[in-house]
């Protein structure tokens, strides 16, 4: 009975994941795409729970579906209708090539992933818990942990720089050195 329930949850989460992923790519309005991505991240969190990665699932919902997507929705609301870009001009050679490349990529991943599979071993109750994750982060993966903090700091500084200096570009003003230039970007 429990086995059956796991399969039901997996099928619902996996199809929600795939459907919302296709919706993100195919919606014309970026606002709907962002909403579909929130659904995608939520169903991925369910899949993570099925893989007994509780902490990653919680972080996924908090960090991704919470913070990152709120930032996305704010920017989309700020840009308004200007962000509406249609599909790349119908089924051109570019679109056909993109579909063919994505299909080839999926076949290649599938071929690499299939075969030589053994049965997954049972794991204890502590697998994927915040205690175990924190212990790994502060012992074996301490360098990765510190580098992550530097990456986040660099991103925060970059966001502030891009967000403040781009306002009202005046080429003569010395503080506008980042996006300076009298010729437009195009």
């Amino acid at each position: 009975m429990g086995n059956f329930l796991v399969w039901v949850v997996w099928i619902v989460a996996a199809f929600a994941c795939l459907g919302s992923g296709a919706a993100v790519v195919s919606f014309t309005n970026p606002f709907y795409s962002a909403l579909a991505l929130i659904g995608n991240l939520g169903s991925l969190a369910v899949l993570y729970l099925l893989l007994s990665a509780e902490f990653v699932a919680a972080a996924q919902v908090l960090v991704y579906a919470g913070a990152v997507m709120v930032m996305f929705l704010f920017v989309i609301a700020y840009l308004g209708r200007d962000a509406d870009a249609p599909w790349a001009g119908g089924p051109s050679w570019q679109a056909l090539g993109a579909v063919a490349a994505a299909g080839a990529l999926m076949v290649e991943i599938g071929l690499k992933a299939s075969g030589r599979l053994t049965e997954a071993p049972d794991v204890g109750a502590g697998f994927g818990s915040p205690y175990e994750i924190g212990k790994l982060f502060l012992t074996d993966h301490l360098l990765a942990f510190e580098i992550t903090s530097i990456v986040l700091l660099a991103a925060a500084v970059g966001g502030v720089v891009l967000g403040t200096q781009a306002r009202d570009p005046e080429p003569d003003h010395p503080s506008n050195s980042l996006l300076q230039g009298d010729v437009p970007l195009r």
Binding site: V6, L51, A53, V68, A85, A98, L136, T148, G158
Partner: protein, 101 residues
């Protein structure tokens, strides 16, 4: 036992492929950023399913690091999009083809 590793990897491969499709096919930089998020999440799902399969938690650590990098990437990407928008340029990656300073 529920579904085994192959099923999870199939979902991960599909997510990565559909993210690639979005990056190559769409022209709005916002949608391209969203598609990159889908690709990162496909990779994360593969990491976590391999982590469960081998009963080693290092894959989950890597997935958390990927999430931090994705958050940073979104901050910088959205900052660039807002900066482009403030210069009254059209948000179309085909037309933003010259990076002239």
């Amino acid at each position: 036992m529920g579904p085994d590793l192959t099923w999870y990897l199939a979902v991960a491969a599909f997510l990565f492929a559909i993210g690639t499709l979005g990056v190559m096919l769409r022209r709005s930089p916002l949608i391209i950023l969203l598609s990159i998020e889908i690709m990162l999440n496909g990779a994360n799902l593969a990491f976590i399913s391999f982590s469960r399969h081998h009963a080693e938690m290092d894959g989950q650590i890597f997935a958390l690091a990927v999430m931090a990098v994705a958050a940073s990437e979104v901050v910088v990407g959205l900052g660039l999009i807002v900066a482009v928008h403030r210069r009254r340029l059209e948000l179309d990656v085909d037309k933003l083809s010259t990076l002239r300073g």
